[in-house]
Subunit: 143 residues, 2 copies
DNA sequence: AAATTAAATGCATCATAGTTGCATTTGTGA
DNA sequence: TCACAAATGCAACTATGATGCATTTAATTT
């Protein structure tokens, strides 16, 4: 983790009027170090020194502010990923494909893959979409 | 619940080599009486006389056999719906839209709405898809 | 119809995810 | 450096889900 990256996170916390604390910066560092979403159990393991409750509160406030978004995998486990952009308080735009590998269980945010258009039956008014795919990821396909 | 409907469920259990028991028939009756998916907590409330563990085991075996499928709502709560067709042991085809109302929290299986085509990045091999939408359902829109 | 047996249920117990209240600590702005 | 709101830690609690084992029951066989 570079100095510049760390500054970016401090700036991000400033933007949302959140105090720049050790646990919060660590959560952001852990999540940004990977190219997949991080599960709550994994995160809890990585944050040994931090209280479980504190972690839950950090994840909740980050999600509310639009810093991270939450994805449930095939087992219903909560996974978190840093939002790329355009997300604000109580208004997420994570309308991209979420790929859940059935071998390694990783969740990929495929941000570049925007959703194809489709129409809803009468009466339904949608304000958010997510497309899920399950299968084998590149790493697991190779073996 | 008609005699014919009940016979249909008994036949369904026969098909999958499952014993026709009270709790199992009751689960099927409860789920088929609604036009939306049923959450595990709701189901637990409806099945007062049946042990919690028995309910979990019924839901698991029904899902394995392809009788029902599991949908996690926006809160990560498990919801279950009877499969329409084409589902078999360990191979579900619930590749339709799941609409989660943010007001009443109901989950609708919009079976008729099949997914538009799209392509995955190289290396990803998908074998299952689900499209989620959240917003306001017809009932909740009216008010 | 009675006996047999594998399958299903119930009960006790445990594990993990997530929440709430409250005391203590700490970051930040004055 | 002081004051205070914000954040953390700790204890306790709820809910979801799983596992082991004894008991019951549906379905088959005699
Ligand atoms: Mn995502
Ligand atoms: Mn469905
Ligand atoms: Zn994988
Ligand atoms: Zn609704």
């Amino acid at each position: 983790m570079t100095e510049i990256t760390n500054n970016r996170f401090e700036h991000l916390l400033d933007l949302h009027h959140l105090k720049k604390t050790g646990p919060r910066l660590k959560v952001l560092a852990m999540m940004s170090a990977k190219n997949t979403a991080t599960s709550q159990p994994d995160l809890e393991g990585l944050m040994e020194d931090v209280d479980r409750v504190t972690l839950y509160r950090i994840l909740n406030v980050f999600e509310e502010k639009g810093i991270i978004h939450k994805i449930f995998d095939l087992n219903g486990t909560a996974n978190y990923a840093i939002c790329t952009s355009n997300c604000q308080e109580h208004l997420h735009h994570d309308e991209h494909l979420h790929f859940n590998c059935t071998v390694c269980n990783k969740v990929y945010c495929l941000n570049d893959l925007s959703l194809p258009a489709f129409n809803l039956p009468p009466g339904f008014k949608a304000d958010g979409f997510t497309l899920y795919a399950s299968g084998t990821c590149p790493q697991c396909s190779k073996k």
